[in-house]
C-alpha cells in the first residue's frame, strides 16, 4: 500500500507539471506572437462598418485595458495564473459579456460524456475481439474482422465521420445528423430528452468507435499471439483448464497491461478526433466551441478551451495510470 501511495504521489507531481507547462505554453504562444489581439479584434469590428476615429480610439483603449497587453509580459503571466486558479479567463467576445469559462463549462459535459462512452466501447470491442482473434488464429469470422479493422483503422476521423454523415443523412436518413438534442424537448431528467440525447450521440460515437477499434484489435491480437506461446499457457491447456478461463484470466489479463499504457497515450489523439467529429455532426461540445472561437477570433475563449482541454486530457491520463496496480499485481507489490 505504501508503494502505491508513492506511485500516486509521483504521478500527481507529473500531472501538475504537465498542466503547468501545457497552460504556460498556451499563454506563451498567444502572447509572444507578433499579432496583437487588440488590433486583431479592432480590425474585425471595423471591417464591416464605418466608425469615427474617436470611437475606434476609445475602443482600442477599452480593449487594451481588457486584455492587459500594455503591461510587461511577466506581469501579464502572473496575472494570467492568478486569475486562472479562480477559473477566470475573462469575457468571451463571441457571446459578450458571458465569461469564457461559462461557455467552456456548458460544453464540457457533452464532450466528456461522448469521449468516455466512445472510448470505453472502442477499448472493450477492440480488446475482446483482438484477444479472441489472437487465441483462435484460424477462426474465419475473426480473420475477416481483422481485415475490416486494417481497412478502417488508418482512415482519418474526418473521412469516416463524413461518410457516415452521407450514409445516414442522405442515403438512409434514420438518425439525426446534427445537434445535441431535438428542438422540441426540454432538458432535464425526462425520457424524451434522454432518448433524444442518445439518438443524437449515436452517429458521433459510432464514427469514433469505427476509427478507434482497429488499433486496439491489432495491438491485442499481436500481444495475445505472443502470450499464447508462453509455457504457462501450454501447461494450463495440458492440465485441462477450460479454454474460456485461459483466454479470460491468463492470456488477456496479461496482455491488457501494455494496452492500458497505450490507452493513456492514445487519449490525446482521441480528443483530437472528438473535435472533428463534433464539428462534422454539429455537436455542442468543446470542439465545436473551439472552432467557433477561432473563426470569431475570440482570444479569451480560445485560451480557455485550450487550457481546459490540456488539463482534462492530462487528468484522464492520470486516472488511467492509477488503474495499473488493480490490473497488474506486480506493480501493486512493489
Amino acid at each position: 500500500m505504501h508503494g502505491y501511495l508513492v506511485f500516486v504521489g509521483k504521478r500527481l507531481l507529473q500531472l501538475l507539471a504537465v498542466i503547468f507547462f501545457g497552460v504556460s505554453a498556451t499563454f506563451l504562444v498567444t502572447h509572444l506572437s507578433p499579432i496583437n489581439p487588440v488590433e486583431a479584434a479592432l480590425g474585425r469590428m471595423t471591417a464591416r462598418s464605418v466608425s469615427n476615429p474617436e470611437a475606434i480610439t476609445a475602443m482600442r483603449a477599452a480593449l487594451t485595458e481588457l486584455y492587459g497587453v500594455n503591461e510587461p509580459i511577466w506581469s501579464q503571466y502572473i496575472n494570467f495564473w492568478s486569475r486562472l486558479v479562480q477559473g477566470d479567463f475573462g469575457p468571451s467576445l463571441l457571446a459578450f459579456p458571458t465569461p469564457a469559462m461559462t461557455l467552456v463549462m456548458r460544453a464540457l459535459p457533452w464532450t466528456v460524456t461522448l469521449l468516455t462512452v466512445a472510448t470505453l466501447i472502442t477499448f472493450a470491442i477492440g480488446n475482446v475481439m483482438g484477444g479472441l482473434a489472437g487465441y483462435n488464429q484460424n477462426n474465419r469470422f475473426l480473420k475477416a474482422f481483422g481485415l475490416v479493422a486494417i481497412g478502417i483503422q488508418p482512415i482519418p476521423y474526418y473521412v469516416v465521420a463524413f461518410i457516415l454523415l452521407i450514409l445516414f443523412g442522405f442515403v438512409w436518413p434514420i438518425l439525426p445528423i446534427s445537434g445535441g438534442f431535438a428542438m422540441n424537448v426540454t432538458p432535464g431528467w425526462n425520457w424524451p430528452y434522454i432518448s433524444s440525447v442518445i439518438q443524437h450521440a449515436t452517429l458521433p460515437a459510432l464514427s469514433l468507435v469505427l476509427v478507434g477499434f482497429g488499433g486496439w484489435f491489432l495491438g491485442m491480437r499481436a500481444l495475445v499471439s505472443n502470450v499464447v506461446t508462453e509455457d504457462y499457457v501450454t501447461y494450463a491447456e495440458l492440465a485441462g483448464v477450460k479454454r474460456t478461463t485461459i483466454v479470460g484470466s491468463y492470456v488477456m489479463r496479461n496482455a491488457l497491461v501494455p494496452q492500458l499504457t497505450a490507452l493513456a497515450m492514445a487519449l490525446g489523439g482521441v480528443f483530437s478526433g472528438t473535435v472533428i467529429t463534433e464539428q462534422v455532426f454539429n455537436y455542442p461540445g468543446l470542439g465545436s466551441l473551439l472552432i467557433d472561437a477561432v473563426n470569431a477570433g475570440d482570444y479569451s475563449l480560445v485560451l480557455a478551451v485550450s487550457s481546459v482541454s490540456v488539463t482534462a486530457v492530462a487528468t484522464a491520463i492520470f486516472i488511467v495510470d492509477l488503474l495499473y496496480p488493480i490490473l497488474d499485481p506486480r506493480v501493486r507489490a512493489e
Binding site: 506572437s33 482512415i155 506461446t229 472552432i291 477561432v294 477570433g297 485550450s306 482541454s309
Partner: protein, 285 residues
Amino acid sequence: MFAVFRDLIRYNIEFAIGLVLVGIVVIFACLSFFSPVDPSLIYTTIPDQPPSAQFWFGTNSRGQDMFWQLSAAFRNSLVFGFTVAVLSRIISIAVGLTAGYLGGWVDRVLMFINDIFVAVPIFPVLVLFYFVLRNNMDSLTLALIMACFGWPFDARLIRSVALGLKHREFTRHAVFAGMSTRKVLLEEHLPYVMPIVFSTFMNNMLWSIGLEVTLAVLGFTNINNPTIGTALYWANSHSAMVVGVWWWIVIPVILMVMTFIGLFLLAMSMNEYIDPRSRLRRMGA
C-alpha cells in the same frame, strides 16, 4: 538490404499490397512535375465537368482539372508528411539514444519532458498556432510545429532498445577502445534502432498527413496551397455532394484511403519483420 526487401515481398502479402498502393500514389504525385497547368490558378478550364476522356478525374466548380490538381495536392501532402517524419525521427533518435545510453539524471529529465509531450493534446495546440499565425502559417511552419510534437512515442521505444544495448559486450569494447559517446551512439547503436525508425517513419507520416487533412478541412491551414485536405475543404465549401459534383469528393477520398491503407500496411509489416518470432511463423519455420 535488397534481400530483406525481396523476402518481405515474397512472404508478406500485406507488405506487397502496401507497396503497390503507396507506389501508385507516389507515381501519381510525381506526375505533377509534368503538369501543364499551375495548380494555384483557378478557372483555367470548364467547371463541373464529370470524368471523361479529356478530364480523367473531371473538373471542379473552381474550374480546375482535378487530375493535375490532385496530383499536386498529393505531392504536397506526401512531401509534408515526409518532412515531419524526418524531423521528428531526428529528435526521437537523439533523445532516445542519449536517454538510454547515459541513464541517470539525464534519462530522468529527458523522459520527464517526453511524458509531458505525450500528454499534451496536439490538436488544440495546432489550432492555437493557426489562431495566432493566421496567414503566416505555411506548410513548413506547420511541419516544424508537428515535428516538435511527433517524437515522444518513438523516443521512448528507441530508449528501451538503447537500454538493452548499453550492457552488451561490444559497447564496452567500444568504450575501452576510446570511442567518444557521440561516436558510440551514432556508429554502434544507431544501426540497431534503424528498423524501428523505418517502421515508425510510416506511422508518423500517417499521423501528420491525417492531422493536416483534419486542419485543412476546417480551413485552419493555408487553403490556397493544394494538399489533400484543402482539396476536400474547397469541395465542402462549394457543397460538392449536394450540387452533384460527386467526383470532387469521391476521387480524392478514394486516393486518400489508398495512401493511408498503403502506408499503414507498410508500417505494420515492417513492425512484424522486426519481431523475429512472427517473421519465422510467417515463413512457416
